[in-house]
């Protein structure tokens, strides 16, 4: 998993739960990196799992909710570093629809070893999109948060429903319905 995901996660934990909680979840996890992350490095996803589990224990917040919150936090990083993508698309629906074929293609160019979820996109009509999320990481709530934030960025109302295709949540079907500008 890319280093930036860890550095931003730690940033969020320090910001929302305090340095103490951060220190706690790092010291309690068995981390190969010993909790020292650099954005340009690559780290095992297992470390993230441990960090999330410990945070959920300390904060009494379910893991998925934490992932969702992290997704909302992480969106800002995307807009800061990759504003060109947001300028390229004029509609959030188009942007979402192009994740697999455009955005991820570009990501792989920079990070050839990146492990990315796959999205099977199906356009239902001009306002609706169905999307099948597949990833061993089961971080679909992260994806949901990013999508919501995208619509917010373009100032459009959206309703995102999801349905878990299995218990682990490695395959999730999203139904995104846009209500146009707010």
């Amino acid at each position: 998993m890319k280093g930036i995901v860890f550095t931003e996660f730690l940033e969020m934990v320090e910001d929302k739960f305090g340095l103490e909680t951060l220190d706690y979840i790092i010291t309690n996890s068995e981390l190969e990196s010993e909790g020292s992350y650099t954005a340009v490095g690559t780290y095992d996803f297992f470390e993230m799992q441990q960090l999330l589990t410990h945070l959920s224990e300390v904060s009494k917040i379910p893991v998925n909710d934490l992932i969702y919150t992290y997704g909302l936090f992480f969106f800002k990083t995307l807009t800061t570093h990759h504003s060109d993508i947001f300028n390229y698309y004029t509609s959030p629906l188009d942007l979402v629809a192009s994740i697999e074929n455009h955005i991820h293609v570009q990501v792989r160019k920079i990070y050839p070893d990146a492990e990315l979820p796959s999205f099977t996109v199906k356009k239902e009509n001009d306002h609706e999109l169905s999307l099948l999320y597949s990833s061993e990481r089961a971080m679909f709530m992260f994806a949901k948060a990013l999508m919501e934030k995208t619509f917010e960025y373009y100032k459009e109302n959206v309703e995102i429903k999801y349905e878990l295709m299995n218990e682990q949540g490695t395959q999730v079907k999203f139904l995104i319905k846009s209500y146009g500008p707010n």
């Binding site: 550095t7 340095l19 790092i26 010291t27 909790g35 020292s36 650099t38 340009v40 490095g41």
Partner: protein, 788 residues
């Protein structure tokens, strides 16, 4: 949280940060060394590639500069960057000497096409078979064909285009010429009014068939390509035309021309004239067969019609009322008719005479003619000259007259024979002659008559005049004809009268009038003119004919007569007046003498002797007679002067009154045989007439028993009265004399010689006559008539 714990926590956090930084630095270090190695490798390979490229370029340049075709490299802007010798030769330009843009060499009309070609070149990298016309340095036009491709730089961006150009100017010209020739041939073929076909002996159908043939036969070109011409030949013509074809095939014939029938696609039959020719070439097993097919349906039809009309003509000639003899150039009879045989008394059928030679016929038939030698000579002359001669008159011995025409017949300027035609004009001729004689007769009448004849056209221009007119007018004939009659003859006085007369004359009516004209000498003449419109044969008015009579002399006489009458009247009047005066003036002295005589006789009755008294009585009688005479003269002279009084008179009463008035001795009896009519007249005058006539009868009766009969009869216009006596009678020689004044016959003492004159004058006044029948010693009957 206690401070120590906090410090420990922060230390841990710091340691993590330091570790993270070191990790990041080592990652970056690794990455940069990795990049350095990569760039070194790239440099190396780049150098290798450049070297290789240069080598290849040199090699290629060598190839291109040495190839025969022109090779040109142009930049993106179109400027020539490189060109080989052939290209320099082709264009005349050299890029080493001047900057040349290929677009400027193009002919205008190729610019658009070239732009499009360049677009294609950029898109596809190559463009082949580009053709355009260029203008070389020397100004020549060249047609070039170019195959081009793009040249890219290291980045794969096109930087230039290279092309191989071929000069195809001559090739194009040749191609054009060939096409033009082909087109010309096609034009000739397709516009020929005659069908043309070309076929190969070793192929079925026609290789080429022109439009006319297609139209002629009704089959399309494709159909004709697969059609055996013999199959569309009319079944009746198939066999023999195939023989011709075979003769052509096996070389017996090279050419033939026949008239035959084809059956068109629509089944109609068409007559054509086909000329076929075999065109054999050496070293070739097959030969070409060229055929022209001409539609002669119309000619055929015309020929049929001609035959028909010839037949009709022949029938016509046979039945013609003119004798016809048609001979060929050798004088053999081609045609003659019944009329001809009849005219010359030939007892043969016209048909049987065809083919007979006529060389001797003039000699044989000359006996028919009045001038046999002339007849023969004329025929010889005609035959020699061969000119058309019409209406020769031939006089035959038997009195007939023939009119003969000789017409030579030429066919395409070649003498082919001649046609004799004879017409019996005997009757016509005689008629003409009599007509001519008549005309001459009338012409001489017109020329010699005393009346001037003038014929004018509608503009009053003189067309004809006779001799008399010339004499009348003083002009010669040639001075008159063509002149305007009105200009010549009208005077200023008669002009108005003439034009008024013309104006008022009824259209197309004749007119007679007197006109004063001037003759050539300018002398005024009076003409009586009778004119009438003149018409031509068709009844169209063409002018007028006028007959002129010179009445100038009559005019003079008339004038003299008028003058005479006037003076006579005057004299008469004077005479009447004179008579009146004289008789009045004479009467009173006479009355005085008579009174004086009576007084002298009474005074001297006793003193005068018997003889003297008798003389006095005689004197008295003479005076009385003189008085009576003067009275009667007065009456006579006053007859004209009195105005006639018209009243109804009962003549029976009138006669009775007269019986009482005059002394009638007893031995004379007066009887009225028929009751007399009542007439309208002046009673006094009528009484004078009856009284004078009855008085005369009484006076001249010498018989013992006198008899006077009064009678009357009437006709349509007059009453006729008669007074008959049995007196002394009047000798014939005196019958006229007695009516003259102062003439009396015999010795009757009281006769004044005026009585009958008065009778005549009165009767004339009533438009009657007086006449008498008489026999000496037997008696006289006076008749007089009075107009009703």
């Amino acid at each position: 949280m206690d401070l120590i714990k906090k410090v420990e926590l922060l230390e841990r956090a710091l340691k993590r940060e330091k570790n993270a930084r070191k990790k990041a630095e080592s990652i970056l270090e690794d990455k940069s060394s990795e990049l350095y190695k990569l760039s070194e490798a790239l440099k190396n390979s780049n150098q290798k590639l450049s070297k290789h490229l240069k080598q290849t370029t040199n090699q290629l340049e060598g190839v291109f500069t040495n190839i025969i075709d022109a090779y040109i490299v142009i930049g993106i802007e179109g400027y020539i960057m490189n060109m080989n010798k052939a290209a320099i030769k082709l264009l005349g330009f050299d890029n080493k000497e001047e900057n040349i843009n290929v677009f400027n060499l193009l002919k205008k009309e190729y610019r658009e096409y070239t732009k499009e070609a360049f677009k294609q070149l950029y898109k596809n990298g190559t463009f082949s078979n580009y053709k355009a016309e260029l203008i070389t340095k020397s100004g020549d036009e060249k047609v070039v064909q170019i195959n081009a491709s793009l040249i890219y730089n290291e980045d794969g961006k096109p930087i230039a285009a290279q092309g191989i150009a071929r000069d195809i100017t001559n090739e194009t010209l040749l191609k054009q010429e060939l096409q033009e020739q082909k087109r010309q041939l096609e034009i000739i073929m397709d516009n020929s009014p005659i069908g043309i076909s070309l076929s190969k002996s070793n192929a079925e159908g026609l290789t080429i068939a022109n439009k006319t043939l297609v139209k002629l036969l009704g089959y399309s070109r494709d159909e004709l390509n697969n059609l055996d011409p013999n199959l569309i030949t009319h079944p009746d013509d198939r066999e023999w035309s195939l023989k011709y074809l075979e003769a052509l095939r096996n070389g017996k014939l090279d050419h033939y021309s026949v008239e035959k029938r084809y059956i068109k696609k629509d089944g109609a039959i068409i007559w054509v004239k086909t000329s076929a020719r075999a065109v054999r070439e050496k070293n070739k097993k097959y030969y070409y067969q060229v055929a022209t097919i001409e539609d002669i349906s119309k000619e055929k039809e015309a020929l049929e019609k001609l035959k028909e009309s010839q037949n009709r003509l022949a029938a016509l000639i046979v039945n013609l009322q003119t004798g016809i003899l048609l001979e060929d150039e050798n004088r053999n009879i081609l045609l003659t008719n019944e009329r001809f045989c009849k005219m010359f008394g030939i007892n043969a059928l016209p048909k049987s005479m065809i083919g007979q030679n006529c060389s001797n016929s003039a000699e044989e038939s000359k006996k028919f003619f009045k001038n046999p030698d002339g007849f023969v000579k004329r025929i010889e002359k005609l035959l020699e000259e061969k000119n058309t001669a019409l209406n020769d008159q031939l006089y035959l011995e038997d009195g007939r007259i023939f009119e003969r025409n000789y017409i030579p017949i030429y066919l395409e300027n070649e003498y082919k024979g001649h046609l004799w035609s004879y017409t019996d004009v005997t009757i016509q001729k005689k008629y003409k002659e009599s007509l001519k004689a008549q005309k001459e007769k009338y012409s001489s009448i017109i020329a010699n008559m005393n009346l001037g004849l003038l014929e004018n056209d509608l503009d009053d221009i003189i067309v004809f005049c006779n001799q008399s007119f010339c004499e009348m007018s003083g002009y010669k004939k040639e001075e008159l004809i063509g002149k305007k009659a009105t200009d010549l003859f009208l005077t200023s006085k008669s002009e108005k009268f003439y034009y008024d007369r013309i104006e008022n004359r009824k259209k197309d009516k004749g007119d007679s009038y007197e006109l004063s004209v001037k003759n050539k000498a300018g002398k005024i003449k009076h003409w009586l003119i009778s004119t009438a419109p003149n018409y031509d044969v068709k009844g169209k008015k063409i002018g007028s004919i006028g007959i002129h009579l010179d009445i100038s002399e009559n005019k003079v006489l008339e004038k003299q007569k008028e003058q005479l009458l006037v003076s006579l009247e005057k004299q008469n009047e004077q005479l009447n007046e004179y008579a009146h005066i004289v008789s009045h003036d004479l009467k009173s002295p006479l009355r005085n003498i008579s009174a004086l005589l009576s007084w002298t006789k009474e005074d001297f009755q006793d003193k005068l002797g018997k003889d003297s008294l008798a003389n006095l009585d005689l004197m008295q009688n003479k005076v009385e007679k003189m008085d009576l005479l003067i009275g009667n003269i007065l009456k006579y002279s006053s007859i004209d002067n009195d105005i006639l009084i018209e009243e109804t008179i009962d003549l029976n009463e009138l006669i009775n009154a007269i019986k009482d008035l005059i002394y009638i001795p007893d031995y004379i009896s007066i009887s009225v045989k028929n009751e007399l009519p009542h007439i309208k007249a002046d009673k006094t005058r009528i009484q004078q007439v009856f009284q004078n006539l009855i008085g005369n009868a009484v006076n001249y009766i010498d018989k013992e028993k006198g008899l006077i009969e009064i009678d009357y009869s009437e006709n349509k216009t007059h009453y006729i009265f008669s007074i008959k006596d049995n007196g002394i009678g009047i000798a014939e020689e005196h019958h006229e004399k007695i009516f003259k004044i102062f003439n009396s016959l015999g010795s009757y003492e009281k006769s004044t010689g005026i009585g009958l004159s008065i009778v005549k004058k009165v009767v004339q006044l009533y438009k009657g006559k007086v006449w008498l029948e008489s026999e000496l010693t037997k008696g006289t009957t006076f008749y007089f008539s009075i107009k009703k």
